[in-house]
Amino acid sequence: MNTSDHQPELFRRRSFPSLPGSSQGADSILKRLKRFSEKQLRLRFEATENVVRGLGMNEFSSAPESPQFHGEQMLSLDPIPLIIESEEWGYIRQGLQQRMQGFQKFFQDIYDQRKILREGFLPMHLVMDNPEFYRECVRLFSQEKSFFRWAACDLAKDHQGNWHVVRDHFSIPPMLSYALQNRRTQNQIFPELFEDRLVQSIGSFPLELLENLKALVSNPEEAQIVVLSNASTQSSEFDHSYLARKMGLPLVQPRDLAVRKAMLHYKTIHGLRPIHIALRCISSNHLDPLTFNGLDGTPGLIDCLRVGNLQVVNAPGTGIIGQRPLLKHADAIIRYYTREVPILPSLATHLCHDPDELENLLAKKEKYTFAHHLNIPLSDAKIQEALKSDSTSLVAHPRIEWQRLPVFQPETGETKALPFTLRCFASVSQNSFHLMPGGLTQVWKNDDFYNQSQFIAKDTWVIGSETRRASLSVPSTPKQARQLLGSRLAESLFWIGRYLERAEATARFLYILDEVHRDDPNRIQKSFPLWQALSLMTGHKADYLPRLYRKDHSKVFWYLTLDPKNTSSILYSIRQAKINASDLLDYIPPEAWTILNRLNQKLTDLSKEHTAESETSLFSIRKALDHVLNQTSAFNGMLFRTMTHDRGRDFLNLGTYLERSHLTLSSIFSLYSDKNVVRVDSNPEETDVENEFLALLMRGFCTLDNYRRQFQFRSLPLPVAEFLLKDKHVPVSLQFCFERLHSLFSRDHAVTLQSQTFHLIQRLDGMELADLFPIRPTPENEEPVGFLKELQEIRTKIENLSELVNDHFFVHQAETQLLFMNEESAQASDIVKES
């Protein structure tokens, strides 16, 4: 019964002994590669590296499902693809379809009746003691359902031409993004190689998957779908965010979600939005702390699933099969559920936990390769150690002579033959099976690839005309997807805006102050008012910076620029901006991210180089200021050119203008309340001379020339105030900021906020400065009156505005508005204290 002779043609095992596609494949590709000059080749390879690095895909963990392991490295892409002819591909497709059907039924059984165990076809412990078997998920779903809607299998080919399945991924199929991106990179860098070949395209696979997900709900047009990830490593972050982008879905983390009335919701700037389907890219037991007794996840998520208000794909608990011991029984499982002989055999596997079996294995040790049962790559030494002390964690596979693929060596122009595995991705449902015609080919340094994390990637070409499928049900008039901006993303953008504005303004003021100091180091009084203004702008008491300056001028520069401990230093602001940006890797263009990341690195390095000697330290501070001024402009320019001018962009601007209005107002308030700056008691003639403090202030805001053009007059208190407060065409003026804020709020229909800015604009417009000048001095210990009082009131209003923004867009606890500004600081806690 097991021999393939008795099987109908469909199920007959076949071998494909020739090197994959060698007839018209690798050889001719190699010939074409050899036509390139050495220099051309080098440039192409560099270009590949740049693409890889630019995308942030250079680092990855080879096993996203096993959080213990974080092997990270540079990804390299070999230009010679793996080529598979259509006949051989058809065979693989049949084999995988059968395999996935079998395992679909396996999950349905294991999470319900467990007949396969009851009838003794599978050893109990493989399921019941499996850490990925979740009792919490048994009978969790009311209807018979597909446990996985997408899956991946790793194949390897022995030297006789037989394909073997060496690993399954039914929980979170990893690295689809790499397969897709490799094709794009290959296409960009070596377009010639594709000439004259009918290579099937793979780019539409994410959309196939999206359609497959939508089929889960009765009203697909209205379904809100998210990709749920926790981005534990940079690589899986790349993987998940790439997938989300290609499917046009929001990438969310558990803390972006909240359960209300047994319905999962996404916290967005428009309030809580219901979620119907979550594409799960986090381990099952990190979904819900209540059900899985942990601290990670969204409390109540599993209950939404249980009452049928939510679909999670792939279902929680599908990680059982990825573990190596199950591979031993995979063929029996397929046979049990499909009543067919498995077309693609699974790699032979022996369990080391059985003492008898282990003894046999050890007697013929050279014939086996040992591997960790949870797919954690182990060194030789670790394996030897485990064989002695912890053999239950190991499985053994017979040594197989695997077929090898040529890998191009750019240095010599020759090739080197290395073993490979092919990861195939499929989108599946009860009545459909779509195998992506391609995949991720990984080339390994030797046959023991179970214990390796470093590989060279190859593109995978399936030759043949494409079978067009009609299942992509495109609506006649595609509706524009509802764009939802998550509160966390909006908040991050908002803070990037604020921090960068603060950093840039601080840098500009310090630049001017340094110049003043260099001009005349002995007249330190001259810059006092400006130091006072900077104190207020950076959140200090007015006399704090002047005192520090008087004591040690290089120290104050250090303090505000590179002091890592000072939360008002430029370094701190840039670091905060960078931290916020790292939350947004799928949102802001990689080029802009690189600028910010490099700036932060540069400042951190300069800060570490700092020496006690004041001259050297000033030297590195000047360097730092230069960098900050250039790079923040570069960052903003890059964003302006490359980032979609959408809601997200609005929040960046919101942060910028709110911070700027605070800076402008604080500086004016500070200077105008200083009687050394605005001499109220002197006669009119004397007040008619150029006010050097106000001129410096305007230089600090880069707007002195604008002032001159506009007024063609000296810097005097009244016109300068007019200019900096009320001129709606001057980017640093208060009115300019208010009008921008007002239009941003109008776009979001944020009525409360809109009315606030409306009143602020009205108030400034109605402020007759001529009536308020000259300014009356504020006697000590008394509240300011007149002009200064006006300023102070506006300042309070701006502070309120910032709280309102937080409440309206970021925090969704209407009743807890000012108490919980930031939910992240709150922890989910276990309140169980029963005895």
């Binding site: 702390p289 601290l295 009452v307 606890q813 108490l819 169980v832 029963e834």
Partner: protein, 292 residues
């Protein structure tokens, strides 16, 4: 047959406002051949909806959420139950331990979970000496179990505060001190190491009998929930033993949930966001309506 009413009140008081309280309750008395539920109502303040489902172990779980701001949370579970003294056929208590083991082996599928180690109840080495001494192959199953139950009661000191919900059976074996939960975990560890399937039971106990004419002793169970063990006997009978009180479980025990260890059956597992906990109070009142 005894008729009980039970009031189980859990009150959380926080140092400040909290929000997003979510919880899973396992306070719903079981229905068994010897225990029937007459009524049950769970009331939560602030008021909220309850969803109910049956978990893997067959327990009724109630799920609630209080998303809005609050600074206290009160859960009052009121139940009325009828309890009978379980009747165990004497012949299954008379088999030897070796025989029993053989019977278990033939039906491994049914009770696999109750033989395996868990986080709180490891099996193996630390318990081997107890097996040799109390559960030898040739001994009679029923007698040895009653004897072992008494042994725990005599040798282990009831003392609260020495252990908590995360104390493992191995640590209890070392301390020889603890509360009902610890004694039960220890007993489970030994039984499972001896390949006798056994499970953890969470429930209530009638601690004192108000009728002064009664000669029934007061039982240990404190003012909160109680825990004991059920052993699987050949023929699929679950036999309750309460090592804390050196009792066979009779009509003064009311069971709520069963599982592999405490982690499967906490009366309340919950999360919330916000201020720290100020106080937690659990009050259980078990009242009997005249005996019959």
């Amino acid at each position: 047959m005894k008729h009980y009413s039970i009031e189980h009140l859990t009150s959380y008081r926080y140092q400040g406002p909290v929000s997003d309280s979510f919880g899973h309750l396992r306070v719903f008395p079981r229905t068994t051949p010897f225990q029937s539920l007459i009524s049950h109502a769970t009331d939560i303040q602030p008021t909220t909806d309850l969803h109910q489902y049956e978990d893997y172990f067959g327990n009724q779980v109630q799920f609630f959420s209080v998303p809005n701001r609050h600074s206290t949370l009160e859960i009052l579970a009121k139940s009325e139950v009828m309890v009978n003294t379980p009747s165990i056929p004497t012949e299954v208590l008379e088999v030897s331990i070796a025989e029993a083991r053989q019977i278990y082996r033939s039906r491994e599928y049914e009770h696999y979970d109750y033989l395996r180690p868990t986080q709180l109840v490891p099996v193996g080495n630390p318990f081997q000496n107890y097996i040799k001494k109390h559960l030898p192959n040739t001994a009679t199953l029923g007698e040895s179990l009653i004897e072992f139950n008494r042994f725990i009661h005599q040798q282990f000191e009831y003392q609260s505060g020495k252990t908590d919900v995360s104390t493992t059976a191995v640590k209890v074996a070392r301390l020889k001190k603890g509360v009902c939960q610890d004694f039960s975990h220890f007993m489970l560890g030994v039984l499972r190491s001896a390949q006798i399937p056994a499970r953890y039971v969470s429930g209530y106990i009638e601690t004192a009998v108000e009728n002064p004419a009664s000669d029934l002793p007061d039982l240990i169970g404190s003012a909160a929930t109680h825990a004991w063990v059920e052993v699987l006997l050949p023929g699929q009978h679950w036999w309750g033993l309460d090592p804390t009180n050196n009792l066979e479980v009779g009509d003064r025990h009311i069971s709520m949930a069963t599982g592999r260890d405490y982690n499967d059956v906490p009366p309340l597992r919950g999360t919330y966001r916000g201020a720290k906990l100020e106080s937690l109070e659990v009050k259980v009142k078990v009242k009997r309506f005249g005996s019959s």
